[in-house]
């Protein structure tokens, strides 16, 4: 044999460097059994080209098919959270503008949209869906600029789902009579819709597509930090020839939202946002004829059983809590891990966090973009400080955050109990609370021990256990062996303080229909 006896330490030169890592050396002692991610091979910046996509210096209100100045004459700045620079000025709508919008919507409901046969409405919705699909890249870039979410997610998740929602509901428009056998569905009238900043276009689509398919007209109020794409959506409605007044978009602050909630000529209110505001809205609407659906906060349990495929469960945890910087109402923010697998789960989670790339949302390789606003970043920092103060142990990978912009490293807490604030309150950021359990019964009891009930996740290799747990979890959506999967055909909504009513699927249509 021509083997040299000292082969184990022999090195050889490659095109890159001289490497001498004997594969078959003695076992690495336990304390050194770590993986290293120090960037032996780094990725160069890969920014999405966007010079061809124009952000206008100023955005007006969209009322009765036209872009109009706000009656206050005031505009407020919209900040790019990745750079802290002003992107554009947004019209500050007030009660007078809301009133104009509601009147336009009422006219459109009575004269055009409410009278139109379903198949005609469907044609408009299909046209909108096709236009959205054509403009996915442009809208994705705008969404990332305005909200700080990564281009990877806005282009691959948000925008395709936006188009899918319009396609899906376009299909319902002429089939409503068959959807509810023996009953005659009729539209409600004018819908007031208030949406959050975490998925600006997607939430607009979730609200507008079913309302329009069912024959209602809409007044939509986007969140103040993310109004830009809503106005580009308005342009698409205009391009699709949607009759004037069918959709009206009024940007502004809470006072505009309150004016919409309290407007006497609204038949239906749909709100997605915080539980706190949701409760205020429920109080205002009480005793009126207005129908209401609320999609509010959450503190979802993601349950990892000992028989789960661990490496894939790790991916589920990542998707569950770090998707969209954790700005997700159904985020899997409470992780329950069975005690027998805690060590491998934590170890893998640490490794996995070390390869998440935090930074410029427009870089195609960025996994975690910018936190939506200074205010939200403060909230996250305050919650993390409370976690530390209450004795939980924080892990953050050593990642370099950009000097400017609102960023937060992906983080998780161990040593958390059910009574920690970080286990009870919604953080709405990339911060996970890890807790342990001994039996599935215990996991179930603790998962349900929350005022919320929006979503939950289960990880086990046993199908029987999935069904057993899923039927007893009090959450509107339960994912098994996956997390944060959305589809227009699948209804979404909460239990308890996570709200009521469903969006998506046949169930979602009920929120915009009455029966004669």
């Amino acid at each position: 044999m021509s083997k040299s006896p000292n082969k184990k330490t022999k090195s050889f030169t490659t095109g890159v460097a001289t490497l001498a890592a004997p594969a078959h050396a003695a076992p690495v002692p336990v304390r050194d059994r770590t993986l290293r991610f120090n960037g032996r091979w780094n990725y160069s910046p890969a920014p999405e080209a966007h010079t061809d996509i124009k952000v206008r210096p100023r955005y007006d209100l969209f009322i009765d098919g036209k872009f109009v100045r706000p009656s206050s004459g005031k505009y407020f700045p919209s900040i790019n959270p990745a750079t802290e620079k002003q992107l554009a000025e947004i019209a500050q709508g007030n009660a007078a503008d809301v009133d104009k919008a509601v009147k336009a919507a009422r006219r459109a409901y009575e004269k055009t949209w409410g009278q139109m046969p379903g198949r005609e409405r469907g044609k408009y919705l299909y046209r909108i869906a096709r236009l959205l699909q054509e403009k996915i890249r442009d809208l994705a870039v705008l969404e990332s600029l305005d909200g700080g979410k990564t281009i990877r997610e806005s282009r691959n998740v948000d925008l395709p789902l936006v188009a899918a929602h319009f396609f899906y509901h376009a299909g319902w428009a002429d089939k409503l009579d068959y959807a509810f056998p023996g009953r005659r569905p009729r539209p409600l009238g004018v819908a007031g819709q208030i949406i959050p900043w975490n998925f600006p276009l997607l939430m607009a689509a979730w609200k507008l597509a079913p309302a329009l398919a069912c024959g209602n007209t809409c007044v939509l109020k986007p969140a103040e930090t993310t109004s830009i794409t809503a106005m580009h959506l308005a342009e698409i409605f205009a391009e699709a020839g949607l009759p004037d007044g069918v959709v009206n978009i009024v940007s502004g602050f809470g006072d505009a939202g309150a004016a919409l909630v309290n407007h006497p000529d609204i038949d239906k209110l749909a709100f997605t946002g915080s539980t706190e505001v949701g409760k205020l809205i429920a109080r205002s609407v009480a005793g009126t004829r207005k129908k209401l659906t609320l999609e509010l906060g959450g503190k979802a349990a993601n349950i990892i059983c000992e028989d789960a495929p661990i490496d894939q469960a790790i991916e589920g945890i990542i998707q569950g809590i770090y998707f969209n910087q954790g700005h997700v109402c159904c985020a899997g923010s409470r992780l329950f891990v069975q005690e027998s697998v805690v060590e491998p789960v934590i170890r893998r989670l640490r490794n996995r966090l070390s390869v998440l790339r935090v930074g410029d949302p427009l870089d195609k390789n960025t996994d975690i973009g910018a936190i939506n606003s200074r205010e939200q970043l403060d909230r996250i920092e305050e919650m993390v400080a409370s976690g530390k103060k209450e004795g939980a142990e924080l892990f953050q990978p050593s990642c370099k955050l950009p000097a400017r912009g609102y960023y937060y490293a992906p983080s998780f807490f161990t040593g958390v109990t059910d009574s920690h604030r970080i286990a009870q309150e919604e953080i709405f950021g990339p911060v996970l609370s890890v807790m342990t359990f001994r039996t599935p019964e215990e996991a179930l009891e603790r998962a349900n021990n929350t005022p919320y009930g929006l979503s939950a996740g289960i990880w086990t290799d046993k199908g029987s256990k999935v069904f057993q747990l899923a039927t007893q979890l009090r959450a509107g959506v339960v994912w098994a062996e996956t997390y944060n999967k959305f589809d227009p055909a699948s209804p979404f909504g909460g239990y308890k303080e996570s709200g009521f009513g469903r969006e998506g699927g046949k169930q979602g249509l009920l929120a915009y229909l009455k029966f004669e």
Binding site: S2, T14, V16, A21, A23, R36, S44
Partner: protein, 298 residues
Amino acid sequence: MTRQAPSFGRVDQIMVEERAATFTKRSIKAESKLEGLRLVFSMLDLTTLEGRDTPGKVMTLCHKAMHPAPERYGVGPVAAVCVYPNLVRPAKAFLRGSTVHVAAVATYFPSGQSSLKTKLEDTKVALEAGADEIDMVIDRAAFLRGEYGKVHDEIAAVKQLCGAVHLKVILETGELVTYDNVRAASMLAMQAGGDFIKTSTGKVSPAATLPVTLVMLDAIREFFFATGIRIGMKPAGGIRTAKQALQYLVMVNETLGDDWLTPEMFRLGASTLANDILLQIAKCIDGRYQSGDYFSLP
């Protein structure tokens, strides 16, 4: 040295495929592209495994392995050439004085459908001819019948024969079909003494895929955490383009990290891939694509 791996563990098909797909979404540009291409080139096992292979053909391959492209492209030699046992001796002769290893397939490659005695004899032929590395196949028939002990013992016997010579264990994942099987076979191969685990012979389709490789990398990590031994990985077959090769590199980079980003711990088995990588390297340096005729055939 005791090698005690934990239980095989399970794999979720949908999630593993979803995760594997994320590695194809990384955008590798500019400096990182050139660096990645050079690194991946240094990890190649330039392979010829045909019935018609002759010393002449092997000489061509060996020369390509040592001098792949004009010097200005800064491409070093590949890690190894991979040939049948019969051709180890000429390959060793051609490669004398270079850093390129000679790997030989053995153990009744590619089917493994023979007696252990024959398999060991086959391995011995390659070793005596001076092979630096042995690529063995597992007994898939035994594996699928649940005779894990037999699979294990055969690998252990071959490793014993190999001694310090590097042993790569080919699972032939295209015949194992399920990810659970791939994971179990990976664990068996590592426990039994393999230094590397390798996806495929290249004779069965599908050969290497990203999800299969991910399952094997996950198994390697688990084995490392449990035993402290770093096992190498070699996807082989079906990797034809530089773009695909970079996707594999991204996967290693983001799962096992720096310690596996070396030719000692990660290899790619391929034949046509080499020239596509060279073509891309030339593009990075010269700023334009060249005709394939400017690159010698392996």
